[in-house]
């Protein structure tokens, strides 16, 4: 691409702002996506993911800031860009009375170049539904059809807005496989999601968004390392009958726990204590011992590997799903 200064970024966002009335949906975002990368915007509902992606797709005009896709911008190169990108929007309903093949043939006709219908149908694994009407498809099949309409133009850049929202677990897996295959084929993909497992599974890099800001950016591994430990220990304590005293109730000494080597941080929510821990194998016996020492009993105890969910909780003090 002969655009000077474009570098090799497929997408470059600088100082993006967008407000809807009083609500600052996007409040100063800078991002870069490299060719061949699968980039995720992760955040709760209302974080500004969809607004950001729709500005990138040229469907919403930003109040301030610039967006450059494939070295082009929407103002001067809309015609070219529409040919070069593929878009799957949230909640598009294709006409119920059209067949899968008819819907795809219609979308294929908009592109100067693209992949044959058979290939698009094959990619979306809709061969058996080729002649079925859209109205008879399951949620997952409809979403794969939406994906196929985004792919018929053989796009250099693919935007997927919440591709698995509302799907059952099996349909989500199916869609993940499809995205994996697209990644293997070397396509540049930008997707939004509020499922941390989805971002972890699919994305090479993730930007975590909250209230219109990017609050963290990196590979899933890097982000998880930010939590400070690879594992999370969760426990709740109970008081032995012999020790029912008001003074004992408040007696879980958090400082003693945080002093244990390998314990990085502590947080408590609804009587459930969470420690982020590195070197789980040496830390756990010491945690047991410390609780014992304080005359307390464990009523619950479990550990899991840290996830992007924990990163979000750590950064915002809220759960991703609490919306």
């Amino acid at each position: 691409m002969p655009i000077a200064g474009a570098g090799e970024a497929s997408l470059r966002i600088r100082g993006l702002h967008k407000a809807f009335g009083e609500v600052r949906a996007v409040d100063g975002i800078d991002l870069e996506v490299k060719p061949g990368e699968c980039f995720g915007l992760l955040g709760p509902n209302g974080a500004g993911k969809t607004t950001t992606i729709e500005i990138c797709e040229g469907l919403t005009a930003p109040d301030a800031g610039t967006v450059e896709l494939l070295g082009r911008n929407w103002k001067e190169h809309e015609r070219d860009l529409r040919q070069l990108i593929g878009i799957q929007l949230q909640e598009t309903q294709f006409p119920d009375k059209l067949t899968v093949e008819e819907a795809l043939r219609l979308f294929r006709s908009f592109y100067r170049r693209g992949i044959p219908l058979d290939e698009a149908i094959g990619l979306a694994q809709l061969e058996e539904k080729r002649l079925s009407r859209v109205g008879t498809l399951s949620g997952g099949q409809k979403q794969r059809l939406a994906m196929a309409t985004a792919l018929v133009g053989d796009p250099e850049l693919l935007f997927l807005d919440e591709p698995t929202t509302g799907l059952d677990p099996q349909a989500r897996r199916h869609l993940w496989d499809l995205v994996d295959r697209l990644k293997l084929a070397g396509r540049t993909i930008i997707l939004t999601t509020h499922y941390m497992d989805e971002a972890e599974q699919l994305c090479d890099r993730v930007a975590i968004m909250d209230h219109g800001h990017v609050i963290a950016l990196g590979t899933p591994k890097e982000l998880i390392a930010m939590v400070g430990g690879e594992d999370i220990v969760e426990f709740a304590v109970a008081f032995p009958a012999t020790h029912i005293q008001e003074s004992a109730r408040a007696a879980l000494d958090v400082e003693a726990l945080k002093a244990i080597p390998g314990v990085q941080s502590h947080r408590v929510e609804e009587a459930l204590h969470q420690l982020s821990v590195s070197e789980l194998h040496t830390a756990v016996p010491r945690i047991f011992a410390a609780i014992e020492e304080q005359g307390l009993h464990l009523s619950e105890f479990r550990t899991h590997s840290a996830t992007l969910e924990d990163v979000f909780v750590r950064l915002t003090g809220r759960n991703l799903r609490d919306e």
């Binding site: 929007l89 598009t92 009375k97 008819e102 006709s109 044959p116 133009g153």
Partner: protein
Amino acid sequence: MNKLAPSGLNLTSLYQLTATRLKLTLREPEAIFWIFVFPILLAIGLGIAFRNRPADVLPVGATTPQLVQALAADKGLRATEMDEAAGTRALATGSILLLAIDEGHGVAYRYDDTNPDARTARMIADRAIQVAAGRHDAVAAQNQLVHETGSRYIDFLVPGLLGMNLMGSAMWGLGFAIVDARAKKLLKRMVASPMPRWQYLAAYLLSRMVMLAIEVVVLLGFARVVFGVPFRGPLVELGVICVLSSLTFSALGLLVASRARTIEAVSGLMNATMMPMWIMSGVFFSPSRFPAFLQPFVQALPLTAAINAMRGNMLQGTHLGQMMTPLAILLVWFLAPFAVAVKIFRWR
């Protein structure tokens, strides 16, 4: 593996959009009913209700056989003998319109002079009795009866139904489909693709033209075969009027649908737009029945113009060149709403 399409204006997409539109219309059974079946049912119903019957034979009564004989000599009367009491009862129940009573020196007619049929019966009965008594006409007279096609109610009605049908199918067809696509975020998805926006709107007009051809042929063919409705003007010109009318109503449909987000909202707007025309544009009766101060408004309505042009063509054989006023009204109603609709159209 990439197929390269020829550069330049891409009409494949226009074709695909139009074909898609047609498929979606034809796969909607309700649409088929309202577009094709309903106007025919209406034509049948009204055709039967207002069919031209042979002149009625009027039932009358008389008190003597001589009077009955005199009355029966006229084919316009059916006379029955009855006494005065029975005759009065028959008058009260409406089974006879007039009772002729022999009063010896003359005859008395008992009837209701506010009933036009009874007044007619009085005139025929008197003439029959006077002729039987020896009266001769002072002036020789003969009747030339007119029962010609083209002056019946059904002939008047069919162009009205055609206009109403073109208005309904164009407005509902465009309005609902566009608002439905907007509500389902399909419009937004379409403009996120490289589809040229003008082609999306043009596809609606093109598919409308195809449906129009079918609608017009079905309705007029039916009217011709079953009722023998005349086509006195050139069919090509009638076609031009239909196309222009349909474009006009399509543009109105486009305008009504250009902002609405829900089917409920667009339904209200549609009805508000079409209601005055259903009533005033002369579908079922001549719009000249409205008072003079309303006439400028009535005549400026697009449906009035469309129906006037259709009646002019079909019933009077008027050529397009002599119908510039209705054609100009239609053209204005096509161009202005279309321009506004394209300008304010909400694509998402």
